[in-house]
Symmetry: C2
Subunit: 128 residues, 2 copies
Amino acid sequence: MNIGELARRTGSSARSIRHYDKAGLIASHRRDNGYRDFGDEAVPQVMQVARMIRLGFSLEEISTFPPCMLRQVTNAVCPDALAAHRERLAEVDRQLFDLARLRERLLTVLDANDSPLPSTERAPHEPS
Amino acid sequence: MNIGELARRTGSSARSIRHYDKAGLIASHRRDNGYRDFGDEAVPQVMQVARMIRLGFSLEEISTFPPCMLRQVTNAVCPDALAAHRERLAEVDRQLFDLARLRERLLTVLDANDSPLPSTERAPHEPS
DNA sequence: CTTGACCTTGACACCGGTGTCAGGGGCTAG
DNA sequence: CTAGCCCCTGACACCGGTGTCAAGGTCAAG
């Protein structure tokens, strides 16, 4: 199929699919006229890539296990990607931790300024 | 004081301080030779800006309440910034929610592929 | 033939705080 | 005088998936 139909079928833009293709993440070959020609297996491939992008992977990361990406036709994740998923999970946990700490800092600022009107006691002209 | 000393005193780079200054967030005037001249109050001002940046505010957001930033000499937050802090808190909560959902999705993928070894049913003739 | 839809590649824009370089002055000590 | 350090402005790079435009080729339908 042409790239336009693949775009319609996957919900990704043709622009993005060309991007994935250039990264070697999609199985494709060229017709005599230069057009990309995709098989049906390209549909789950594109969706797999899009899904991993939504999960926070970069194309470069995804590119580290392209052989299995190209074979991928199901929702199952190939072994190469499992380690990446675990790393990504750890990264997400780090972000959750940082964000929670950030939230605490925001709450601290708000608590210190929200209820107590008298700012006099805190420091009229002193940096802490 | 010159920008170099202010940089040393605040821990921010001179480059960043010029950036903040251009945004009108730091009280400064120019000497005859064109050099910026900062007073002692610039130290907490720069640190306040840096702190808000670490809290995830953009310079543009901070610029929406510069009058109070310029007066700011304490750790207390001026009223103008309170609303921004609340919005920021809401944003952080959204991010926490999204991240938690992301984490669930990652766990789902891992759970579905981690324990169950029999990839046979998923991929009939896979040369793993 | 023309029209129009679809395809190709290449390149720029975006976001935004920061690093870094280039080119030019100021100022002080020797 | 020079050496050396500090300052000035302006501009480019970065990151990375995506939108968008330009300029051109392909091809089926009328």
